[in-house]
């Protein structure tokens, strides 16, 4: 560490240039942090579903609805341990921009199906008692200032009530939390009772959005899924059963490969950064040829000169990366207000620092090599 002042001073030899370069790296890592958090968040929310959980939807489209009567038939399929169902409500709270999912679910089985959710006993009891009761994610409650006991209005955009009006109301009976970060992200929803939904809606009675099944032996999940679909083959409403994970991944493909888009954007950003930072490092070393020659004259070895230049590059990249990732982490809560459950996973920090190290090496190595090969006699007589 005794070399630190030497490295640090070299880094700031041309302040404006260093600041400009650093800002570029900061911005790149800010972008990296944000986009990777989204990417990791997405891939995680698709990993969470246990392999033992199956998902049954209409064969041709996720938006097809399925008869309620399938419930008992699915339940009696060998290997199926538990069945539940859910329907997409697609309502709006106060403002179009307040986007969060609302699901009408079978309240008797849904929490058992999603046992990674945390709901306290009082809430479970009250939900069983109160037909218009709803459970809401902790983050959502915080964001909108909801408390247990509040009655909240949701405007339907798909499902009007019998009287033709769109204003549904739910009583908040409890909060939903998750056992880990992924479940927490998944818990940012509003769950209300299907029996209330089915009774109060104008049309669609007796139909649900999708079924969920838990199988007794996860190894048999594939054959159980096939057995379920076989039951409804050649019926007017054929089904397609997948593991929840596979479904989600298919869903992702439909949305477009966001991951790929994110990685290509970041790839382009860092490619540009490579040239910019590389040029800065190259220029900085070129200007310091006589100084580097003097260090060698004093007795600094070729390898230590190489190490000095590489350290300088590392310092530049890592400081800027820390700043960029720090700002991203700092901004994350604000972003999470729009996208509940979004947070900065530690692995994004680790990845970011890895990328910073790699960047430092790639841009630092050519000038460091040049500094190492520098011939003292030549460099000194060039003055």
């Amino acid at each position: 560490m005794k070399y630190f002042p030497l490295i640090w001073s070299a880094l700031w030899r041309k302040k404006p240039r260093t600041i400009y370069t650093m800002l570029s790296i900061v911005v790149a890592f800010l972008l990296f942090g944000m986009l990777q958090a989204v990417a990791v968040g997405m891939s995680k929310s698709f990993e969470i579903s246990g392999a033992d959980r199956l998902f049954t939807a209409g064969k041709f489209s996720f938006t097809e609805i399925l008869p309620l009567g399938y419930y008992s038939r699915i339940k009696s399929t060998p290997g199926v341990q538990l069945v539940s169902h859910a329907s997409w409500f697609g309502g709006v709270y106060q403002d179009e921009r307040n986007m969060f999912p609302q699901l009408a679910v079978d309240h008797e089985t849904y929490l058992e199906m999603y046992d990674e959710f945390i709901v306290d006993e009082a809430a479970r009891k009250e939900w069983a008692r109160n037909k218009t009761g709803a459970l809401v994610g902790k983050g959502l409650a915080q964001k909108f200032g909801w408390k247990v006991g509040d009655r909240i209005p949701i405007q339907a955009s798909i499902w009007p009530k019998r009287d033709g009006r769109n204003d549904w109301e739910f009583d908040i009976v409890g909060l939903l939390d998750g056992k880990d970060e992924n479940a927490k992200a998944q818990a940012e929803v509003l769950l209300f009772r299907f029996d209330y939904f089915d009774e109060a809606r104008q049309f669609g009675q007796g139909y649900v959005g999708w079924y969920l099944e838990k199988v007794s032996d996860p190894a048999q999940a594939g054959s159980v899924a096939a057995a379920i679909d076989r039951q409804f083959a050649n019926s007017p409403k054929e089904t397609r059963t997948d593991s929840e994970k596979a479904f989600n991944q298919a869903f992702m493909k439909q949305l477009g490969d966001i991951q790929l888009i994110i990685q290509s954007i970041l790839g382009a950003v860092f490619f540009t950064l490579l040239f910019l930072t590389g040029n800065t490092m190259m220029q900085s070393v070129r200007e310091r040829i006589p100084e580097l020659a003097v260090l060698k004259t004093i007795g600094f070895s070729d390898r230590s000169v190489l190490a000095l230049v590489l350290s300088e590059s590392l310092l530049l990249c890592v400081i800027a990366a820390l700043a960029g990732l720090g700002i991203a982490t700092f901004l994350m809560p604000g972003l999470a207000a729009k996208m509940p459950g979004l947070y900065m996973p530690p692995e994004v920090w680790a990845m970011g620092l890895g990328v910073a190290g790699l960047l430092a090496f790639i841009v630092g190595f050519p000038p460091a090599w040049r500094a190492m090969r520098l011939d003292i006699v030549h460099a000194l007589s060039a003055r």
């Binding site: 005794k2 030497l6 001073s9 004259t297 004093i298 007795g299 070895s301 070729d302 006699v377």
Partner: protein, 229 residues
């Protein structure tokens, strides 16, 4: 002449530029005694810097032997030479060659970074070296805040700080006015007389050479007769 601290035998140095070979030094023999202050004079291009680089271990001869303090440095690898320079040689250049971003103390400290001395000892020795060159008060100043004479004193302190066997100076006063030059030369003289430093100094200036204990004249890569003071 006392014990020779520098001893060159049959030294040859040529540079090759493409197919052309430039003979710079031709079968040169030279002994420098411990405690000597040698002024090396001669016209431009006569090979003074080349000779100095060989003595200081910055370059290796094409043929012949260079011994300094009993060690054959012409046989050392470039990595070994770097280590050797750190222990034995202090360099002073015409244009000071200080690190512009480091203050005087940090500049003087540079050679000590290569030793195992702890920070406190390094600082103590830096202060002593700055004291010797008369710049104890200027430790916190950057080179840009120093006059030419002061910058050269810092450079001399840097050359001294690791207590080298030999001080090697290439036109140390070439960039200074008469008065400042004389001050620097007095300083070198003091280092030689009171601290017993062996000094080899290249200079164009006959007045500067008068400060030395011996003078040597070079011409076209050969050493003429030394004219004693």
């Amino acid at each position: 002449m006392g014990e020779a601290i520098v001893s060159l035998r049959g030294v040859l140095k040529h540079y090759t530029r493409g197919k052309q070979t430039v003979e710079v030094l031709e079968s040169l023999d030279l002994d420098i005694a411990r405690g000597d202050f040698l002024a090396l004079m001669g016209p431009s291009g006569s090979g003074k810097t080349t000779l100095l680089n060989l003595i200081g271990g910055l370059d290796r001869p094409s043929a012949g032997s260079v011994s300094v303090a009993g060690e054959r440095i012409d046989q050392l690898s470039s990595g070994q030479l770097a280590q050797w320079r750190a222990r034995h040689i202090g360099f002073v250049f015409q244009f000071y060659n200080l690190m512009p971003m480091l203050n005087a103390e940090r500049n003087v400290e540079l050679p000590l970074l290569l030793t195992r001395l702890p920070a406190a000892d390094r600082l103590r020795r830096v202060r002593v070296a700055l004291e010797i060159v008369g710049l104890a008060e200027r430790g916190g100043h950057k080179p840009s805040e120093l006059s030419g004479g002061q910058a050269q004193r810092v450079a001399i302190a840097r050359a001294l700080v690791a207590d080298p066997t030999l001080l090697v100076c290439d036109e140390p006063t070439g960039d200074l006015d008469r008065k400042t030059a004389d001050e620097i030369l007095h300083l070198l003289q003091t280092l030689n007389r009171e601290y017993g430093k062996t000094i080899v100094m290249v200079t164009h200036d006959p007045k500067a050479a008068e400060f030395a204990t011996h003078q040597l004249h070079m011409d076209k890569g050969r050493i003429g007769t030394g004219e004693p003071l």
